[in-house]
Subunit: 235 residues, 2 copies
């Protein structure tokens, strides 16, 4: 009842090779193994996955649409480098959409879903205790995605997948301290509200959760587009 978005298996989403490439690169970016600005050569990726450039190109174009890769004409594909302005837009959009998503999730709550949520929280705690930063980053994103799946709203899910992916890059670029990407406690609180079907509490907790994440970012005010060089080197 979860992953059944399309009636016909037209997009197995993991069986065909282009999806494998897409998800492999996505995972690498979301786990902060590929840093913003990294060149994504077609031949290079193609050799890794044993695929021709045709398939690699298809996968990269999908990632462009997801906002985590940017393609510059005749220059190639790179891991996207969101600007502070992008970051503010992403979080504004999340503050608009996610409260509504948890609202719907409260209606869809069931023993099976609660199991999945609890299991996920356990994984998050374990990764955090283990000090596995990469897993923590990935899991905290997946939590939000899980709630979106729970809402049963495929459009919201699609939008949020894009927003989460971009958030991961944003947090990597603009986080002030080395705080864990997402407070696991917050997630636990949200799950508790969902379990009680307390929509108001769920919305409020999700909103404050997102606000807190954004507050931990350093997004300088001017519409600073690119070339952080002058700022960083500050000769």
């Amino acid at each position: 009842m979860a992953a059944k978005t399309r009636p016909k298996p037209d997009t197995p989403d993991a069986s065909d090779r282009v999806s494998r490439i897409r998800e492999g690169v996505t995972a690498a970016i979301l786990e902060h193994r590929l840093l913003p600005g990294t060149k994504l050569g077609e031949d290079e990726i193609g050799e890794i996955y044993g695929a021709s450039r045709t398939l690699v190109r298809t996968a990269l174009q999908q990632l462009v649409h997801e906002g985590i890769v940017s393609i510059e004409k005749n220059r190639g594909a790179f891991v996207a480098r969101p600007t502070p302005a992008d970051a503010r837009e992403v979080f504004e959009a999340r503050r608009l959409i996610e409260p509504t998503i948890v609202d719907r999730a409260c209606e869809a709550v069931s023993p099976a879903w609660l199991d999945r949520l609890r299991h996920h929280l356990a994984e998050e705690r374990e990764a955090e205790l283990r000090g596995d930063a990469r897993a923590s980053v990935r899991l905290s994103g997946e939590f939000h995605r899980l709630v979106a799946e729970m809402s049963g709203h495929s459009i919201y899910l699609g939008f949020l997948k894009e927003l989460i992916a971009r958030s991961s890059l944003i947090i990597l670029l603009y986080r002030r301290h080395d705080t864990p990407a997402c407070g696991t406690d917050h997630h636990a609180g949200i799950v508790a509200a969902i379990r009680k079907r307390d929509k108001a509490a769920a919305r409020a907790q999700m909103l404050s959760h997102l606000t807190e994440i954004e507050a931990e970012l350093f997004l300088k005010d001017p519409a600073a587009d690119e070339t952080r060089l002058a700022d960083v080197l500050g000769a």
Copy 2:
């Protein structure tokens, strides 16, 4: 200050050939010249635009992501056929996003923008008087897009472009009467609220506008996925 999403001209959005194909097909779908379910052969389109299948394929894949084309493995591309469930999701999302968009538009109001809005309303009225259904459909969608551009929020704009495109198909499929797709009067009311920077009125009018459009649709209750065949033929 409006269309400046990227600092470098990496996506002129109209100069390269794949964009021309994408926008040509998009326009045809939005103007209801291509009906849901229509086969979009790669050779056929390629010959029309004088491009190879490689470019056509790229354009079609982008349209898949916009939700107005669906590709079935080894079968080809077709104009999407949104289900009633899709329709409800699209309008729910619009009711969430668009009030926020007009809110922001109220802040961005300027003489130049008001000119564009007024000019657009004039075009809409003219098309309606002329009885040009195709132009009316296209223009009523473009009004919402214009407001989204005005908001200056590129993510909301991207989301809304997708929602508007799908709405066009939905209206074509499920409209009860042959009422004009979108009440021009409503649009005028929204513009008036924007001009007065009256956020509350703008939000309220946008919301009621969307609600009214959806109310004119016939979306049967059951989670009817595809195969309308049994319903229609009802042997």
